[in-house]
Assembly symmetry: C2
DNA sequence: ATCGGCTTTTGATGTCGATCAAACGCGCTC
DNA sequence: GAGCGCGTTTGATCGACATCAAAAGCCGAT
Protein backbone atom coordinates (compact mmCIF):
# COMPACT_ATOMS: atom_id res chain seq x y z
CA UNK A 1 0.00 0.00 0.00
CA UNK A 2 1.27 3.42 -0.92
CA UNK A 3 0.68 6.01 1.69
CA UNK A 4 2.16 9.21 0.38
CA UNK A 5 0.99 11.77 2.88
CA UNK A 6 0.92 15.37 2.00
CA UNK A 7 0.59 17.11 5.28
CA UNK A 8 -2.18 19.51 4.49
CA UNK A 9 -3.41 21.82 7.20
CA UNK A 10 -6.81 20.79 8.38
CA UNK A 11 -8.87 23.92 8.57
CA UNK A 12 -12.34 23.80 9.94
CA UNK A 13 -14.33 26.66 8.54
CA UNK A 14 -17.65 27.92 9.73
CA UNK A 15 -20.21 27.57 7.02
CA UNK A 16 -23.80 28.70 6.84
CA UNK A 17 -25.07 25.50 8.36
CA UNK A 18 -23.54 23.73 11.27
CA UNK A 19 -23.70 20.44 9.45
CA UNK A 20 -21.02 21.24 6.91
CA UNK A 21 -17.41 21.02 7.89
CA UNK A 22 -14.59 21.61 5.50
CA UNK A 23 -12.15 19.06 6.71
CA UNK A 24 -9.56 17.29 4.77
CA UNK A 25 -11.25 14.07 3.86
CA UNK A 26 -8.36 12.08 2.46
CA UNK A 27 -9.61 9.23 0.33
CA UNK A 28 -6.06 7.99 0.62
CA UNK A 29 -6.77 6.95 4.18
CA UNK A 30 -10.36 5.95 3.80
CA UNK A 31 -11.04 2.32 4.43
CA UNK A 32 -14.12 2.61 2.26
CA UNK A 33 -12.08 3.60 -0.75
CA UNK A 34 -12.39 0.25 -2.40
CA UNK A 35 -16.14 0.56 -2.11
CA UNK A 36 -16.61 3.96 -3.63
CA UNK A 37 -13.48 4.67 -5.66
CA UNK A 38 -11.57 2.83 -8.34
CA UNK A 39 -9.06 0.33 -7.15
CA UNK A 40 -5.58 -0.10 -8.46
CA UNK A 41 -4.85 3.53 -9.18
CA UNK A 42 -1.53 5.25 -8.79
CA UNK A 43 -0.54 7.35 -5.81
CA UNK A 44 -0.60 10.51 -7.89
CA UNK A 45 -4.12 9.66 -8.87
CA UNK A 46 -5.08 9.18 -5.25
CA UNK A 47 -3.74 12.64 -4.58
CA UNK A 48 -6.08 13.92 -7.25
CA UNK A 49 -8.98 12.18 -5.60
CA UNK A 50 -8.09 13.80 -2.32
CA UNK A 51 -8.43 17.11 -4.06
CA UNK A 52 -11.76 16.15 -5.56
CA UNK A 53 -13.23 14.99 -2.30
CA UNK A 54 -12.38 17.60 0.27
CA UNK A 55 -15.58 18.28 2.17
CA UNK A 56 -17.42 16.25 4.71
CA UNK A 57 -20.92 16.87 5.83
CA UNK A 58 -22.81 15.54 8.80
CA UNK A 59 -26.50 14.84 8.51
CA UNK A 60 -28.56 14.19 11.60
CA UNK A 61 -31.16 11.49 11.75
CA UNK A 62 -34.31 12.63 10.02
CA UNK A 63 -32.61 15.43 8.13
CA UNK A 64 -32.33 15.55 4.37
CA UNK A 65 -28.98 15.47 2.64
CA UNK A 66 -30.77 16.96 -0.33
CA UNK A 67 -34.35 17.41 -1.43
CA UNK A 68 -36.35 17.14 -4.60
CA UNK A 69 -36.03 20.25 -6.70
CA UNK A 70 -32.80 21.49 -5.18
CA UNK A 71 -30.08 22.40 -7.63
CA UNK A 72 -27.78 19.49 -8.20
CA UNK A 73 -24.24 20.38 -7.15
CA UNK A 74 -22.57 17.27 -5.90
CA UNK A 75 -22.63 13.57 -5.39
CA UNK A 76 -22.18 12.18 -1.91
CA UNK A 77 -20.37 9.10 -0.75
CA UNK A 78 -21.76 7.76 2.49
CA UNK A 79 -18.98 7.58 5.07
CA UNK A 80 -20.99 6.48 8.05
CA UNK A 81 -24.67 6.07 8.66
CA UNK A 82 -27.67 5.13 6.64
CA UNK A 83 -29.97 6.90 4.18
CA UNK A 84 -33.18 6.34 2.35
CA UNK A 85 -34.04 7.94 -0.96
CA UNK A 86 -37.64 8.85 -1.47
CA UNK A 87 -39.56 9.81 -4.56
CA UNK A 88 -42.66 11.91 -3.94
CA UNK A 89 -45.43 11.85 -6.49
CA UNK A 90 -47.43 14.92 -7.37
CA UNK A 91 -50.41 13.74 -5.35
CA UNK A 92 -48.36 13.26 -2.21
CA UNK A 93 -47.82 9.53 -2.25
CA UNK A 94 -44.23 8.56 -1.92
CA UNK A 95 -42.03 5.60 -2.59
CA UNK A 96 -38.74 4.68 -0.98
CA UNK A 97 -36.49 4.00 -3.95
CA UNK A 98 -33.47 2.76 -2.06
CA UNK A 99 -31.42 2.53 1.10
CA UNK A 100 -27.78 3.63 1.11
CA UNK A 101 -25.03 2.61 3.46
CA UNK A 102 -21.31 3.28 3.89
CA UNK A 103 -19.38 3.42 0.64
CA UNK A 104 -22.44 3.94 -1.52
CA UNK A 105 -23.02 6.95 -3.73
CA UNK A 106 -25.98 9.29 -3.47
CA UNK A 107 -27.18 11.95 -5.85
CA UNK A 108 -26.97 10.29 -9.26
CA UNK A 109 -30.60 11.19 -9.83
CA UNK A 110 -29.69 14.87 -10.16
CA UNK A 111 -27.24 14.70 -13.04
CA UNK A 112 -29.79 14.40 -15.80
CA UNK A 113 -31.91 17.42 -15.02
CA UNK A 114 -29.40 19.32 -12.87
CA UNK A 115 -31.94 19.23 -10.10
CA UNK A 116 -32.49 16.50 -7.59
CA UNK A 117 -35.51 14.36 -8.30
CA UNK A 118 -35.68 12.56 -4.95
CA UNK A 119 -35.08 13.29 -1.28
CA UNK A 120 -32.16 11.67 0.49
CA UNK A 121 -32.94 11.41 4.20
CA UNK A 122 -30.64 10.16 6.93
CA UNK A 123 -32.12 7.31 8.95
CA UNK A 124 -29.42 7.71 11.58
CA UNK A 125 -26.79 10.33 12.29
CA UNK A 126 -24.58 10.09 9.25
CA UNK A 127 -21.61 11.57 7.54
CA UNK A 128 -20.96 11.92 3.83
CA UNK A 129 -18.10 12.97 1.58
CA UNK A 130 -19.16 15.65 -0.82
CA UNK A 131 -18.01 15.23 -4.41
CA UNK A 132 -18.56 18.46 -6.33
CA UNK A 133 -19.95 17.34 -9.61
CA UNK A 134 -18.29 19.85 -11.90
CA UNK A 135 -14.94 18.78 -10.51
CA UNK A 136 -15.81 15.14 -10.98
CA UNK A 137 -16.73 15.85 -14.60
CA UNK A 138 -13.44 17.62 -15.17
CA UNK A 139 -11.29 15.12 -13.37
CA UNK A 140 -12.97 12.20 -15.06
CA UNK A 141 -11.84 13.70 -18.36
CA UNK A 142 -8.24 13.42 -17.26
CA UNK A 143 -8.43 10.18 -15.35
CA UNK A 144 -9.69 7.20 -17.35
CA UNK A 145 -9.83 4.91 -14.34
CA UNK A 146 -12.06 7.33 -12.48
CA UNK A 147 -14.25 7.76 -15.52
CA UNK A 148 -14.61 4.03 -16.04
CA UNK A 149 -15.37 3.51 -12.39
CA UNK A 150 -17.99 6.21 -12.34
CA UNK A 151 -19.73 4.73 -15.35
CA UNK A 152 -19.77 1.34 -13.71
CA UNK A 153 -21.29 2.75 -10.56
CA UNK A 154 -24.09 4.35 -12.57
CA UNK A 155 -24.66 1.21 -14.58
CA UNK A 156 -24.86 -0.88 -11.45
CA UNK A 157 -27.45 1.45 -10.07
CA UNK A 158 -29.49 0.89 -13.23
CA UNK A 159 -29.11 -2.85 -12.78
CA UNK A 160 -30.10 -2.64 -9.14
CA UNK A 161 -33.23 -0.77 -10.07
CA UNK A 162 -33.99 -3.36 -12.71
CA UNK A 163 -34.02 -6.02 -10.05
CA UNK A 164 -36.25 -3.91 -7.84
CA UNK A 165 -38.63 -3.65 -10.77
CA UNK A 166 -38.59 -7.42 -10.99
CA UNK A 167 -39.24 -7.61 -7.27
CA UNK A 168 -42.18 -5.22 -7.42
CA UNK A 169 -43.55 -6.47 -10.69
CA UNK A 170 -43.54 -10.22 -10.28
CA UNK A 171 -42.83 -11.32 -6.73
CA UNK A 172 -45.08 -12.06 -3.81
CA UNK A 173 -44.76 -10.22 -0.53
CA UNK A 174 -42.83 -12.96 1.26
CA UNK A 175 -40.39 -13.24 -1.62
CA UNK A 176 -39.80 -9.51 -1.57
CA UNK A 177 -39.09 -9.45 2.14
CA UNK A 178 -36.75 -12.42 1.90
CA UNK A 179 -34.93 -10.69 -0.95
CA UNK A 180 -34.68 -7.55 1.14
CA UNK A 181 -33.18 -9.35 4.12
CA UNK A 182 -30.74 -11.27 1.95
CA UNK A 183 -29.66 -8.09 0.22
CA UNK A 184 -29.10 -6.29 3.51
CA UNK A 185 -27.19 -9.25 4.86
CA UNK A 186 -24.94 -9.36 1.84
CA UNK A 187 -24.21 -5.65 2.02
CA UNK A 188 -23.44 -5.87 5.74
CA UNK A 189 -21.06 -8.70 5.10
CA UNK A 190 -19.22 -6.93 2.29
CA UNK A 191 -18.55 -4.11 4.75
CA UNK A 192 -17.12 -6.46 7.33
CA UNK A 193 -20.14 -6.48 9.61
CA UNK A 194 -21.96 -9.54 10.81
CA UNK A 195 -23.98 -10.92 7.95
CA UNK A 196 -26.58 -12.71 10.04
CA UNK A 197 -27.34 -10.24 12.78
CA UNK A 198 -28.04 -6.56 12.43
CA UNK A 199 -30.19 -3.64 13.39
CA UNK A 200 -32.62 -2.33 10.86
CA UNK A 201 -32.32 1.41 10.48
CA UNK A 202 -35.70 1.86 8.86
CA UNK A 203 -39.26 1.47 10.07
CA UNK A 204 -41.71 -1.17 8.91
CA UNK A 205 -43.41 1.51 6.92
CA UNK A 206 -40.20 2.40 5.07
CA UNK A 207 -39.48 -1.23 4.34
CA UNK A 208 -43.02 -1.59 3.09
CA UNK A 209 -42.76 1.46 0.88
CA UNK A 210 -39.58 0.15 -0.68
CA UNK A 211 -41.09 -3.28 -1.23
CA UNK A 212 -44.49 -2.13 -2.40
CA UNK A 213 -46.52 -3.39 0.53
CA UNK A 214 -48.14 -2.02 3.67
CA UNK A 215 -46.41 -1.87 7.03
CA UNK A 216 -48.85 -4.38 8.49
CA UNK A 217 -47.85 -6.87 5.84
CA UNK A 218 -44.19 -6.36 6.66
CA UNK A 219 -44.92 -6.91 10.32
CA UNK A 220 -46.96 -10.02 9.70
CA UNK A 221 -44.27 -11.48 7.48
CA UNK A 222 -41.58 -10.83 10.08
CA UNK A 223 -43.74 -12.65 12.59
CA UNK A 224 -44.30 -15.52 10.21
CA UNK A 225 -40.62 -15.79 9.31
CA UNK A 226 -39.91 -15.98 13.02
CA UNK A 227 -42.57 -18.60 13.63
CA UNK A 228 -41.08 -20.60 10.78
CA UNK A 229 -37.66 -20.49 12.39
CA UNK A 230 -36.11 -18.43 9.61
CA UNK A 231 -35.23 -15.39 11.69
CA UNK A 232 -35.42 -13.87 15.13
CA UNK A 233 -36.92 -10.41 15.18
CA UNK A 234 -37.24 -8.02 18.04
CA UNK A 235 -38.23 -4.59 16.91
CA UNK A 236 -35.33 -3.37 14.76
CA UNK A 237 -33.05 -6.24 15.67
CA UNK A 238 -32.90 -9.10 13.19
CA UNK A 239 -31.00 -12.35 13.35
CA UNK A 240 -31.04 -14.66 10.38
CA UNK A 241 -31.27 -18.25 11.61
CA UNK A 242 -31.83 -20.06 8.34
CA UNK A 243 -30.37 -18.18 5.43
CA UNK A 244 -30.95 -21.08 3.07
CA UNK A 245 -34.59 -21.04 4.04
CA UNK A 246 -34.75 -17.37 3.12
CA UNK A 247 -33.01 -18.07 -0.16
CA UNK A 248 -35.49 -20.82 -0.87
CA UNK A 249 -38.35 -18.41 -0.37
CA UNK A 250 -36.69 -15.81 -2.52
CA UNK A 251 -35.64 -17.96 -5.43
CA UNK A 252 -37.37 -21.26 -5.33
CA UNK A 253 -40.80 -19.95 -4.54
CA UNK A 254 -43.80 -21.26 -6.45
CA UNK A 255 -44.22 -25.01 -6.23
CA UNK B 1 -3.07 8.67 -22.58
CA UNK B 2 -3.88 7.54 -26.08
CA UNK B 3 -5.29 10.57 -27.77
CA UNK B 4 -4.11 9.88 -31.28
CA UNK B 5 -6.65 9.72 -34.03
CA UNK B 6 -6.12 7.05 -36.56
CA UNK B 7 -8.20 7.40 -39.67
CA UNK B 8 -9.41 3.88 -40.09
CA UNK B 9 -10.89 3.00 -43.44
CA UNK B 10 -14.54 2.16 -43.19
CA UNK B 11 -15.11 -1.01 -45.14
CA UNK B 12 -18.26 -2.97 -45.54
CA UNK B 13 -17.37 -6.41 -44.29
CA UNK B 14 -19.27 -9.63 -44.35
CA UNK B 15 -19.69 -10.74 -40.81
CA UNK B 16 -20.92 -14.01 -39.37
CA UNK B 17 -24.47 -12.79 -39.23
CA UNK B 18 -26.32 -11.11 -42.02
CA UNK B 19 -27.74 -8.56 -39.67
CA UNK B 20 -24.55 -6.56 -39.27
CA UNK B 21 -23.60 -4.08 -41.93
CA UNK B 22 -20.59 -1.86 -41.64
CA UNK B 23 -21.84 1.21 -43.36
CA UNK B 24 -21.07 4.80 -42.80
CA UNK B 25 -23.65 5.90 -40.28
CA UNK B 26 -23.05 9.61 -40.20
CA UNK B 27 -24.48 11.13 -37.07
CA UNK B 28 -23.92 14.39 -38.91
CA UNK B 29 -26.91 13.62 -41.11
CA UNK B 30 -29.06 11.82 -38.59
CA UNK B 31 -32.28 13.53 -37.77
CA UNK B 32 -32.31 11.70 -34.45
CA UNK B 33 -29.06 13.32 -33.40
CA UNK B 34 -30.70 15.70 -31.03
CA UNK B 35 -32.31 12.76 -29.29
CA UNK B 36 -29.25 10.64 -28.72
CA UNK B 37 -26.28 12.95 -28.98
CA UNK B 38 -25.29 16.23 -27.38
CA UNK B 39 -26.63 19.31 -29.06
CA UNK B 40 -24.69 22.43 -29.82
CA UNK B 41 -21.38 20.84 -30.59
CA UNK B 42 -18.90 21.97 -33.17
CA UNK B 43 -18.58 20.46 -36.63
CA UNK B 44 -15.21 18.97 -35.76
CA UNK B 45 -16.84 17.27 -32.82
CA UNK B 46 -19.56 15.90 -35.05
CA UNK B 47 -16.84 14.43 -37.22
CA UNK B 48 -15.52 12.66 -34.14
CA UNK B 49 -18.97 11.28 -33.44
CA UNK B 50 -19.16 9.98 -36.98
CA UNK B 51 -16.01 8.02 -36.27
CA UNK B 52 -17.37 6.70 -32.99
CA UNK B 53 -20.63 5.51 -34.50
CA UNK B 54 -19.77 3.76 -37.71
CA UNK B 55 -21.73 0.51 -37.67
CA UNK B 56 -25.37 -0.16 -38.20
CA UNK B 57 -27.10 -3.36 -37.35
CA UNK B 58 -30.49 -4.63 -38.34
CA UNK B 59 -32.49 -6.73 -35.92
CA UNK B 60 -35.54 -8.60 -37.09
CA UNK B 61 -38.71 -8.74 -35.10
CA UNK B 62 -38.37 -11.28 -32.32
CA UNK B 63 -34.59 -11.36 -32.47
CA UNK B 64 -32.34 -10.25 -29.66
CA UNK B 65 -29.99 -7.33 -30.06
CA UNK B 66 -28.10 -8.78 -27.12
CA UNK B 67 -28.78 -11.33 -24.44
CA UNK B 68 -28.16 -11.73 -20.74
CA UNK B 69 -24.66 -12.96 -20.07
CA UNK B 70 -23.15 -11.86 -23.36
CA UNK B 71 -19.96 -9.86 -23.12
CA UNK B 72 -20.70 -6.18 -23.14
CA UNK B 73 -19.05 -4.52 -26.11
CA UNK B 74 -21.21 -1.66 -27.20
CA UNK B 75 -24.15 0.58 -26.58
CA UNK B 76 -26.81 0.85 -29.24
CA UNK B 77 -28.84 3.83 -30.34
CA UNK B 78 -32.16 2.84 -31.80
CA UNK B 79 -32.44 4.25 -35.33
CA UNK B 80 -35.73 2.73 -36.33
CA UNK B 81 -37.99 0.20 -34.71
CA UNK B 82 -38.92 -0.77 -31.22
CA UNK B 83 -37.35 -2.89 -28.48
CA UNK B 84 -38.19 -4.33 -25.12
CA UNK B 85 -35.64 -5.10 -22.45
CA UNK B 86 -36.34 -8.10 -20.35
CA UNK B 87 -34.84 -9.28 -17.08
CA UNK B 88 -35.08 -13.01 -16.46
CA UNK B 89 -34.98 -14.27 -12.91
CA UNK B 90 -33.22 -17.47 -11.95
CA UNK B 91 -36.50 -19.35 -11.63
CA UNK B 92 -37.61 -18.41 -15.12
CA UNK B 93 -40.01 -15.59 -14.38
CA UNK B 94 -39.27 -12.50 -16.32
CA UNK B 95 -40.02 -8.84 -16.20
CA UNK B 96 -40.06 -6.33 -19.01
CA UNK B 97 -37.93 -3.48 -17.68
CA UNK B 98 -38.48 -1.04 -20.50
CA UNK B 99 -39.44 -0.27 -24.07
CA UNK B 100 -37.05 1.62 -26.34
CA UNK B 101 -37.81 3.60 -29.43
CA UNK B 102 -35.91 5.69 -31.98
CA UNK B 103 -33.21 7.84 -30.48
CA UNK B 104 -33.00 5.92 -27.22
CA UNK B 105 -29.96 4.14 -25.94
CA UNK B 106 -29.74 0.44 -25.18
CA UNK B 107 -27.08 -1.50 -23.32
CA UNK B 108 -26.34 0.64 -20.28
CA UNK B 109 -27.00 -2.39 -18.10
CA UNK B 110 -23.80 -4.03 -19.31
CA UNK B 111 -21.26 -1.40 -18.30
CA UNK B 112 -21.12 -2.29 -14.62
CA UNK B 113 -20.33 -5.97 -14.91
CA UNK B 114 -19.01 -5.99 -18.48
CA UNK B 115 -21.74 -8.48 -19.30
CA UNK B 116 -25.27 -7.77 -20.28
CA UNK B 117 -27.77 -8.33 -17.50
CA UNK B 118 -30.92 -8.20 -19.61
CA UNK B 119 -32.12 -9.23 -23.05
CA UNK B 120 -32.93 -6.57 -25.60
CA UNK B 121 -35.47 -7.94 -28.08
CA UNK B 122 -36.81 -6.22 -31.17
CA UNK B 123 -40.60 -5.95 -31.22
CA UNK B 124 -40.53 -5.00 -34.88
CA UNK B 125 -37.87 -5.03 -37.57
CA UNK B 126 -35.41 -2.49 -36.30
CA UNK B 127 -32.10 -0.88 -36.93
CA UNK B 128 -29.57 0.37 -34.42
CA UNK B 129 -26.32 2.32 -34.45
CA UNK B 130 -23.59 0.47 -32.64
CA UNK B 131 -21.44 2.54 -30.32
CA UNK B 132 -18.34 0.56 -29.34
CA UNK B 133 -17.97 1.17 -25.67
CA UNK B 134 -14.21 1.36 -25.43
CA UNK B 135 -14.25 4.08 -28.06
CA UNK B 136 -16.98 5.93 -26.25
CA UNK B 137 -14.92 5.78 -23.05
CA UNK B 138 -11.87 7.15 -24.84
CA UNK B 139 -13.68 9.81 -26.78
CA UNK B 140 -15.62 10.96 -23.75
CA UNK B 141 -12.26 11.68 -22.14
CA UNK B 142 -11.46 14.13 -24.88
CA UNK B 143 -14.87 15.59 -25.44
CA UNK B 144 -16.47 17.16 -22.38
CA UNK B 145 -19.81 17.73 -24.09
CA UNK B 146 -20.06 14.07 -25.00
CA UNK B 147 -19.09 13.05 -21.49
CA UNK B 148 -21.63 15.35 -19.89
CA UNK B 149 -24.32 14.16 -22.27
CA UNK B 150 -23.58 10.53 -21.60
CA UNK B 151 -23.78 11.05 -17.86
CA UNK B 152 -27.09 12.77 -18.25
CA UNK B 153 -28.46 9.92 -20.31
CA UNK B 154 -27.49 7.43 -17.61
CA UNK B 155 -28.89 9.59 -14.86
CA UNK B 156 -32.17 9.98 -16.69
CA UNK B 157 -32.40 6.24 -17.01
CA UNK B 158 -32.02 6.00 -13.24
CA UNK B 159 -34.75 8.58 -12.80
CA UNK B 160 -37.01 6.75 -15.25
CA UNK B 161 -36.57 3.57 -13.30
CA UNK B 162 -37.33 5.43 -10.09
CA UNK B 163 -40.67 6.42 -11.49
CA UNK B 164 -41.36 2.86 -12.61
CA UNK B 165 -40.66 1.79 -9.04
CA UNK B 166 -43.22 4.33 -7.88
CA UNK B 167 -45.65 3.00 -10.45
CA UNK B 168 -45.17 -0.60 -9.38
CA UNK B 169 -44.92 0.11 -5.70
CA UNK B 170 -47.79 2.44 -5.03
CA UNK B 171 -50.18 2.70 -7.94
CA UNK B 172 -53.28 0.81 -8.87
CA UNK B 173 -53.62 -1.03 -12.14
CA UNK B 174 -55.68 1.64 -13.90
CA UNK B 175 -53.23 4.34 -12.84
CA UNK B 176 -50.34 2.32 -14.20
CA UNK B 177 -51.96 1.78 -17.55
CA UNK B 178 -52.92 5.44 -17.84
CA UNK B 179 -49.32 6.37 -17.02
CA UNK B 180 -48.11 3.95 -19.65
CA UNK B 181 -50.33 5.39 -22.36
CA UNK B 182 -49.43 8.95 -21.46
CA UNK B 183 -45.75 8.11 -21.51
CA UNK B 184 -45.99 6.46 -24.91
CA UNK B 185 -47.99 9.38 -26.23
CA UNK B 186 -45.43 11.87 -25.02
CA UNK B 187 -42.55 9.94 -26.55
CA UNK B 188 -44.36 9.61 -29.86
CA UNK B 189 -44.98 13.31 -29.89
CA UNK B 190 -41.39 14.23 -29.14
CA UNK B 191 -40.41 12.21 -32.21
CA UNK B 192 -42.84 14.06 -34.41
CA UNK B 193 -45.44 11.32 -34.59
CA UNK B 194 -49.07 11.69 -33.75
CA UNK B 195 -49.42 11.90 -30.01
CA UNK B 196 -52.97 10.66 -29.78
CA UNK B 197 -53.04 7.79 -32.22
CA UNK B 198 -50.54 4.97 -32.53
CA UNK B 199 -49.93 1.30 -32.91
CA UNK B 200 -48.73 -0.59 -29.90
CA UNK B 201 -45.72 -2.69 -30.75
CA UNK B 202 -46.03 -4.96 -27.74
CA UNK B 203 -48.57 -7.56 -26.66
CA UNK B 204 -50.92 -7.27 -23.72
CA UNK B 205 -48.67 -9.67 -21.91
CA UNK B 206 -45.61 -7.48 -22.43
CA UNK B 207 -47.50 -4.42 -21.26
CA UNK B 208 -48.65 -6.37 -18.25
CA UNK B 209 -45.17 -7.57 -17.46
CA UNK B 210 -43.84 -4.04 -17.60
CA UNK B 211 -46.66 -2.73 -15.42
CA UNK B 212 -46.74 -5.60 -12.94
CA UNK B 213 -50.12 -6.99 -13.83
CA UNK B 214 -51.57 -9.87 -15.82
CA UNK B 215 -52.50 -9.66 -19.46
CA UNK B 216 -56.17 -10.16 -18.65
CA UNK B 217 -56.07 -7.11 -16.42
CA UNK B 218 -54.49 -5.05 -19.20
CA UNK B 219 -57.20 -6.21 -21.59
CA UNK B 220 -60.02 -5.47 -19.15
CA UNK B 221 -58.64 -2.02 -18.46
CA UNK B 222 -58.38 -1.22 -22.16
CA UNK B 223 -62.00 -2.25 -22.51
CA UNK B 224 -63.01 -0.14 -19.54
CA UNK B 225 -61.07 2.90 -20.76
CA UNK B 226 -62.88 2.53 -24.05
CA UNK B 227 -66.26 2.16 -22.40
CA UNK B 228 -65.50 5.29 -20.40
CA UNK B 229 -64.73 7.21 -23.58
CA UNK B 230 -61.07 7.72 -22.76
CA UNK B 231 -59.66 5.81 -25.69
CA UNK B 232 -60.50 3.75 -28.74
CA UNK B 233 -58.74 0.43 -28.89
CA UNK B 234 -58.72 -2.12 -31.64
CA UNK B 235 -56.09 -4.74 -31.10
CA UNK B 236 -52.78 -2.88 -31.26
CA UNK B 237 -54.30 0.34 -32.47
CA UNK B 238 -54.94 2.97 -29.82
CA UNK B 239 -56.47 6.40 -30.12
CA UNK B 240 -56.55 8.68 -27.13
CA UNK B 241 -59.86 10.50 -27.03
CA UNK B 242 -59.64 12.16 -23.64
CA UNK B 243 -56.07 12.76 -22.61
CA UNK B 244 -57.12 14.87 -19.65
CA UNK B 245 -59.24 11.99 -18.46
CA UNK B 246 -56.20 9.76 -18.59
CA UNK B 247 -54.15 12.33 -16.74
CA UNK B 248 -56.83 12.54 -14.10
CA UNK B 249 -56.67 8.79 -13.58
CA UNK B 250 -52.91 8.87 -13.47
CA UNK B 251 -52.43 11.78 -11.14
CA UNK B 252 -55.63 12.57 -9.37
CA UNK B 253 -56.45 9.00 -8.50
CA UNK B 254 -57.67 8.29 -4.96
CA UNK B 255 -61.33 9.16 -4.41
C1' DA C 1 -59.48 -20.76 -48.86
C1' DT C 2 -58.38 -23.52 -44.82
C1' DC C 3 -55.94 -24.68 -40.88
C1' DG C 4 -53.52 -24.04 -36.51
C1' DG C 5 -51.44 -21.26 -33.22
C1' DC C 6 -51.24 -17.15 -30.83
C1' DT C 7 -53.34 -13.01 -28.97
C1' DT C 8 -57.21 -10.97 -27.09
C1' DT C 9 -61.56 -10.67 -24.80
C1' DT C 10 -64.80 -11.73 -21.32
C1' DG C 11 -66.85 -14.30 -17.45
C1' DA C 12 -66.73 -16.84 -12.90
C1' DT C 13 -64.32 -17.62 -8.92
C1' DG C 14 -60.39 -17.39 -5.69
C1' DT C 15 -56.83 -15.26 -2.90
C1' DC C 16 -53.22 -12.27 -1.36
C1' DG C 17 -52.48 -8.31 0.65
C1' DA C 18 -55.07 -3.88 1.91
C1' DT C 19 -57.88 -1.76 5.07
C1' DC C 20 -59.95 -0.97 9.42
C1' DA C 21 -59.38 -1.44 14.18
C1' DA C 22 -57.50 -2.09 18.72
C1' DA C 23 -54.01 -3.05 21.98
C1' DC C 24 -49.32 -3.11 23.27
C1' DG C 25 -44.60 -1.58 24.10
C1' DC C 26 -40.74 1.27 23.60
C1' DG C 27 -38.50 5.53 24.20
C1' DC C 28 -39.28 10.15 24.70
C1' DT C 29 -40.01 14.46 27.78
C1' DC C 30 -41.28 16.55 31.90
C1' DG D 1 -41.33 7.57 37.42
C1' DA D 2 -45.55 9.00 34.94
C1' DG D 3 -47.55 10.20 30.76
C1' DC D 4 -47.59 10.58 25.88
C1' DG D 5 -46.71 9.64 21.06
C1' DC D 6 -45.03 6.81 17.71
C1' DG D 7 -44.00 2.40 15.88
C1' DT D 8 -45.38 -2.31 16.00
C1' DT D 9 -48.25 -6.32 16.41
C1' DT D 10 -52.32 -8.86 15.68
C1' DG D 11 -57.18 -9.78 14.40
C1' DA D 12 -61.33 -9.30 11.32
C1' DT D 13 -63.01 -8.10 7.07
C1' DC D 14 -62.78 -6.36 2.36
C1' DG D 15 -61.49 -5.65 -2.32
C1' DA D 16 -58.42 -5.45 -6.31
C1' DC D 17 -56.34 -8.24 -9.11
C1' DA D 18 -55.04 -13.13 -10.14
C1' DT D 19 -56.43 -17.37 -11.68
C1' DC D 20 -59.07 -20.54 -14.27
C1' DA D 21 -61.73 -21.15 -18.25
C1' DA D 22 -63.72 -20.67 -22.77
C1' DA D 23 -64.62 -18.51 -26.98
C1' DA D 24 -63.52 -15.48 -30.65
C1' DG D 25 -60.44 -12.92 -33.65
C1' DC D 26 -56.23 -12.35 -36.19
C1' DC D 27 -52.29 -13.87 -38.91
C1' DG D 28 -49.15 -16.58 -41.23
C1' DA D 29 -48.33 -21.09 -43.38
C1' DT D 30 -49.80 -24.62 -46.39
Amino acid sequence: MSTSHRVTPITAVDSDTSTVSRLKVACSNCNLRELCMPIGISTSEIDQLDELVYTRRKVKRGEALYRTGEAFEALYAVRTGFFKTRLTFQDGRDQVTGFSMAGELLGLDGIGTENHTVDAVALEDSEVCMIPYDKLETLSGEMPSLRTHFHKVMSREIVRENSVMMLLGTMRAEERLAAFLLNLSQRMQSRGYAALEFHLRMTREEIGSYLGMKLETVSRLFSRFQADGLIDVDQKYVRIKDIDGLKAIYAHHTQ
